[in-house]
């Protein structure tokens, strides 16, 4: 399948090109950006990120684990302190809270790695040094017969360069 690699100067043009490509049904595309831009993110995938699920599960696991750990350990080795119950809930909120944050943070981090596909790997064939400078890339894979249309669409959105990479 032919792949067109286009380079843009601005996020607004890149986002507009992505929107139009998707409207025309060219969904097999990938963007590269030197910084995060909301407009580009919304054009490419407006759905909420799945990272939030990791954060929620991590936080809930943390608070549950925190309380269970403290209650079990306090009952396993019962010592009366300041006349309080062995398993005294109010002071347990401190460690419960800290573990909520700790596990919420760890799960968020692992969520980033999983959802973002982050692990040491070979870089994409079409990734360019310029995409970590100040330029934007849109890589579109389409049928042979659509190459001209895609190229025209990209150029209409001020792509400064369009290259046919594979065919």
């Amino acid at each position: 399948m032919p792949t067109l690699v286009s380079v843009f100067d601005f996020p607004s043009n890149t986002a507009s090109a992505v929107r139009k490509l998707k409207d025309r049904g060219f969904d097999d595309l990938k963007t590269y950006s030197p910084a995060p831009f909301t407009e580009l993110e919304l054009a490419e995938d407006p759905k909420p990120s799945k990272v939030r699920r990791f954060t929620l599960i991590g936080g809930l696991s943390g608070v549950t684990l925190g309380f269970l750990m403290q209650i079990w350990m306090s009952l396993e080795w019962p010592i009366k302190i300041a006349g309080k119950n062995f398993a005294s809930i109010p002071p347990f909120w401190i460690v419960g809270f800290e573990l909520t944050i700790l596990l919420g943070g760890f799960f968020t981090f692992f969520g980033l790695l999983i959802v973002g596909g982050l692990y040491p790997k070979r870089l994409d064939k079409h990734y360019d040094l310029r995409f970590s400078a100040e330029e934007f890339g849109v890589v579109v894979t389409c049928d042979e017969r659509d190459v001209a249309e895609v190229e025209a669409l990209l150029r209409a959105e001020s792509a400064k360069e369009v290259t046919l990479a594979d065919s």
Binding site: T31, A35, R52, M73, I94, I101, V115, L118, S132
Partner: protein
């Protein structure tokens, strides 16, 4: 009419445009090359760490008696310095997380340096409770783990809360720091060669700035900010409860948590300024770290200094208003007892001097700010010294009063802690960009695209 795609050559950027971005070149510059003043500073820091290590070996062998601990003061400079460094670590999270949630865009230029400062300050702080144990090999007693004695830690003790608070804070700070660094490490990877490239390649985790990567990254930063914001408020509150949960006069106060948090942010910002002013000057980063950034940080210092001033005044007022003789005596002795110098240094450096920041010209006068912040850091160390030492040395029964004198061992370890912190920060400067490049670019490109500036 545009040429067909097949006809477009593989040419890259037009010749009049530089191949790399200016932000990449400028901000990565400190990581390249060898400058002898840098290695001189690093060497001095390493020597400082080594002398402290030698002294600590001596202390571990001989015992804590050489640390100036004597009846009735058994929390000395180590605990003072522990609270000091934990406080320093608060500015980083405030700038990274809280200002991020408030969408304060000016933070983009200063957050990386502040985050690094947080990580290294917390690493430094975490050493002190261990040194304070004396028998450092008993450290594992603090950790709840199944053992043959069926012995568990006391979850009702603020000291144990501290263990959880500090370790959570250290973990989240390191995570926050690393997550923010990933896109910048990828920039470094794309421009490095040899071993450096191999290391950056592993650390960059295959980052390419694709849509899904940026989306997951932005949400992770948002969620980590949401988690770090209550965390940063909790950590110094919990540290303050190490004192406030006891019934020592001068410690048993409900104002301690907000008072400590405000003090931490105050001292932290002062340290950020103390570090970023020389960094900006030495590495010529004036384009990115502007007077505007320093003015904003000065405003924070002015605000938190005023909160500290209020807390100091409230402590004295409550001591008087409570009618409790011990409390009143404790505060009288703070101001006019044997430690009066530290109390008046604290008030002068933390409350009176920062009031000069009402003057706009001084808020942007960097030499003045640098000197002021040195005084603030000194004042904040004295604040913890006043709280801990004066209260412990003059408790209820006058017959058990005593005088605490700092020992050379403690001074050596205190100096070593600054060297330890400096050593990590200097190493960081050589390996990673001190300013978040992608965040700076985000503002620059946005301004270019939509006009105007932030």
């Amino acid at each position: 009419m545009a040429p067909p795609a097949t006809a477009v050559a593989d040419s890259l950027a037009s010749p009049e445009r530089p191949r790399d971005s200016r932000a990449n070149i400028d901000i990565m510059a400190p990581t390249h090359g060898v400058q002898w003043p840098y290695f001189l500073a690093l060497g001095a820091a390493v020597l400082g760490v080594l002398q402290a290590l030698a002294v600590l070996l001596y202390q571990t062998y001989v015992g804590l008696g050489v640390a100036g601990y004597q009846q009735p003061v058994f929390w000395g400079v180590y605990i003072v310095t522990f609270v000091f460094w934990i406080g320093i670590g608060h500015a980083g999270t405030l700038i990274s997380a809280i200002l991020f949630l408030f969408r304060a865009k000016w933070r983009n230029a200063v957050n990386r340096g502040a985050e690094a400062l947080t990580v290294f300050a917390v690493i430094t702080a975490a050493l002190f409770p261990i040194l304070h144990l004396g028998r450092i090999w008993k450290l594992y007693f603090l950790i709840p783990y199944p053992n043959q004695r069926s012995l568990w830690v006391n979850f009702k003790s603020p000291l144990l809360w501290d263990v959880f608070a500090i370790s959570t804070y250290a973990s989240i700070s390191i995570m926050f720091f690393y997550v923010g660094l990933i896109p910048d490490i990828a920039i470094a990877r794309d421009r490095a060669t040899g071993v450096k490239k191999a290391i950056y390649t592993v650390l960059a985790l295959g980052w390419q700035g694709t849509g899904p990567q940026w989306k997951a990254h932005s949400r992770s930063v948002l969620h980590l900010s949401g988690l770090a914001t209550p965390l940063v408020l909790s950590v110094h509150s919990i540290v303050s409860w190490d004192f406030a949960m006891s019934i020592v006069p001068g410690w048993h106060a409900t104002i301690f948590a907000p008072y400590f948090v405000a003090g931490a942010v105050f001292g932290g910002f002062a340290m950020v300024i103390n570090i970023l002013i020389p960094v900006r000057r030495i590495f010529r980063l004036e384009r990115y770290l502007t007077d505007y950034h320093f003015e904003n940080m000065s405003r924070f210092i002015l605000l938190t200094s005023t909160i500290c001033g209020y807390a100091y005044a409230a402590e004295y007022f409550i001591a008087w208003y409570s009618g409790v003789e011990y409390e009143q005596t404790s505060f009288w002795l703070r101001a006019f007892g044997p430690y009066w110098v530290s109390t008046w240094c604290m008030i002068t450096f933390n409350v009176i001097f920062p009031q000069l920041l009402w003057i706009k010209k001084l808020r942007t006068n960097l030499p003045f700010l640098f000197v002021l912040c040195l005084f603030i850091n000194l004042g904040m160390w004295f604040e913890r010294y006043v709280i801990i030492i004066t209260s412990l040395s003059r408790e209820y029964i006058s017959g058990s009063w005593g005088l605490y004198v700092i020992s050379p061992v403690e001074l050596s370890v205190l100096a070593g802690s600054f060297c330890w912190f400096s050593m990590w920060f200097l190493l960081f400067l050589k390996v990673f960009p001190v300013i978040a490049i992608t965040e700076v670019k985000e503002l620059e490109i946005h301004a270019r695209d939509h006009g105007g500036a932030h």
